[in-house]
Subunit: 434 residues, 2 copies
């Protein structure tokens, strides 16, 4: 067996401890498969004296993350997240000719281009399997397993917190706020849940997936993100009666006019696999021109699931010894070999819609609504109206045909003028995966 | 861009044509990702004059497959299947220092050890992503994506024909023979369907998956295979009423006493993802100690889905230039680095069971049956008895607790002695994936 791959670890939180633990537990098997042992020789953490759930003997621990970058290591693993100092640490590591493994989706999505260019110039690998969908090897699948395919679409449940909350809301017919509070208690949601429940985390991940699949840029703000905080138990119930589950999806689609990138709550027919992925699980559907639809399901977070992805990157680096790094590492859009494809403006995005309207219980209401839809060339695929209590407003739920955002919005604006319409209209997108 | 990877193709059937077509259509993207173009320069087919659904210009076509092995190529792709002459062709190609890509599961499962040893001695890659689950990159996922994990179990819908037949039987409440005849007409089943419906094809694939995950040997006869030809529409219906779907699963499990390998019709709770994988789709569930359960779903066959896997292997070879081949290619059990784990005798395999009994409609029947189960320490988890027509026999369906094959069989033998039991007892295994 050749000499070990020397690893420096920045961050000894849950994932960092998971990496140490799994390497200790399965080290012999991993070494056999990698062709050489993988050894963590240095680690940095804010409080080195804090007790950890793993064996740290033989690892030089420091409070200074830059000491790890400057130590005699082959690879630096960055697990502290956030933009600074992670960006400076990775930049310096690459500058020193180290390979880097990171789980930092925010950094890659917002500032990835410069980092990948730096890696390319240094002939180093910047690997990031753990940045998207935890232990599901979706980066490897997209870049290597499905390499023969022109990817036409990606749809993913890529934020476990949102999926957990939506699942609980449905199963217990509970309100968003109540479930969120509980998720926070259980550690499934952060004290400030904005990143997760407003779709920002999913947007980061989608940006990374799309960069690999379509060559779209790694840049902030290119994904239209809508969270789940406005979803009401009532909509989940109605969607259910219509045969749908509500999922927060990240969607990237190659259209004839550009790539569309969006994160939003979405009705999915309950017969589809994505509809059945519940709780904190993640799932990514990839549509390719040769393979058709494939779906990958697993834990999107957790100490050892994420550690599994980090170690897979380390093994790839150990196997490759840096050879072929140039072709292996950079997302399509970074190499400059191809111009990034255009992005589709959100007004041109097409989808079916779920619409819930509250209306006065009077004659002519349905005729007025359906006239507006018909004049906008939008079909009603399904409609549900419950008998209102005497004197109360009526609720109407509609599933429409596929229509552009712009055209749908125009019809919606016209509806808002109707005298019998009450406030509180809800619209959600529907995906059929057909 | 460096010089092209020169490929020789043996077999121009559906998959071979798919490989040519996808390489032509997506060649530029594939070359960018591989770091060099992939060019098919020679091909062999029994009847070179036959018209094909792909462009063959620039490819030297021959009726002699050995001419491809001897041509000036870097890689030989074997797509003719069967043991001979495929074994001799691959052997000679490896002997000549060529890399080999094959979709030949029967050959690998039955005679793989010698071929991998030959590849190892030659420093060549013998790649086989297309041999299992078509376009789903399950070999790469197991070997690279989940490399950090100790795999504890695999369960797969890995024969599309069987899954199609079971799905149709359920949806149309039709008999096995009728659905099979139709599947043959549609091209989903062979004229001689034995390999598919009797579990032999799935056993080959499971042998390959287990070799990677557990290091069990590549050898024939190590998988206990039971087909779907005995499944009756009635059982599918009863299973449905009890909340289960019947799927033909390949199951490999690491137990404390060895590895169990089996293919058989299995009841799966309808809430589980595997229960929802219908039609010709394949799905593989992998349970790892770090990642937990992950599921991979997609087309298990078809020209371009399989071509996608073949080309992924070609790209890996193009990227690696043969470096690290030794560590990359051999399933665990082939390197000799570790002794293969013991295989669990089938009598020790534990699972829950579904049992359908036909009995005379008389007092004391249930007591006699449940006494036998209780004395064997087997619990009844669910039971269903329909009211029989006057004078007719009664049907009882039971779901049991988890029990060893040996203990269950003893109880079953005792039941056969009961005077009121009619012939035609059905027993199927149940998997809960918990």
């Amino acid at each position: 067996m050749t000499e070990p791959l020397r690893v420096g670890l920045i961050g000894l939180g849950t994932v960092g401890q998971g990496v140490v633990r799994v390497l200790a537990r399965n080290g012999a098997q991993i070494a056999r498969r990698a062709g050489r042992p993988i050894e963590i020789v240095a680690a940095a953490t804010r409080d080195p004296s804090k007790p950890r759930n793993c064996e740290l003997k033989g690892i030089k621990i420091s409070a200074d993350p830059f000491s790890v970058v400057r130590a005699d290591v082959d690879v630096v693993v960055e697990l502290i997240g956030g933009l600074d100092p992670a960006e400076r640490l990775i930049g310096e590591a690459l500058g020193r000719g180290r390979h880097v493994v990171t789980a930092n989706k925010a950094l890659l999505a917002e500032r990835g281009v410069a980092l990948f260019q730096r890696a390319q110039a240094a002939g180093s690998i910047l690997a990031f399997e753990a940045a998207v969908a935890g232990g599901i090897p979706i980066i490897k699948v997209l870049r290597e397993g499905l390499v023969a395919n022109r990817v036409t679409g990606i749809a993913g449940i890529i934020n476990g917190t949102s999926n957990y909350i939506l699942t609980q809301m449905r199963e217990r017919e509970a309100a968003f706020a109540d479930v969120l509070a509980e998720a926070q208690k259980l550690g499934y949601a952060e004290a400030d849940p904005t990143f997760d429940v407003e779709g920002i985390d999913a947007a980061h991940k989608l940006t990374i997936l799309a960069a690999i699949a379509f060559g779209t840029p790694l840049a902030s703000g290119i994904v239209r993100a809508e969270g789940i905080s406005q979803i009401q138990a009532q909509d989940i119930a109605l969607a259910g009666e219509l045969g749908y589950r509500i999922k927060s999806l990240g969607i990237a689609k190659q259209t004839g006019h550009g790539v569309e990138l969006r994160v939003h709550p979405t009705l999915v027919p309950e017969g589809k696999l994505l509809a059945k992925v519940d709780g904190v699980l993640n799932a990514v559907l990839v549509d390719g021109d040769a393979i058709g639809q494939t779906v990958y399901v697993g834990r999107g977070a957790g100490a050892e699931a994420t550690a599994s992805a980090v170690i897979a990157d380390l093994v790839d680096i150990a196997r490759l010894h840096g050879a072929a790094a140039r072709h292996w590492v950079a997302p399509l859009g970074v190499t400059g070999a191809t111009a990034p494809p255009p992005l589709l403006p959100i007004e041109n995005v097409e989808s079916a819609y779920y619409l819930r309207l509250r209306v006065a219980d009077e004659p002519g209401v349905l005729r007025a609504l359906t006239s507006i839809l018909a004049e906008a060339d939008i079909s009603v695929e399904a409609i549900l109206q419950k008998e209102p209590k005497p004197g109360a407003d009526a609720t109407i739920a509609i599933i429409t045909s596929v229509v552009s955002e712009a055209r749908f919005r125009q019809a919606l604006d016209r509806m808002q003028q109707l005298p019998f319409l009450r406030p509180g209209t809800v619209r959600l997108r529907v995906e059929h995966f057909e």
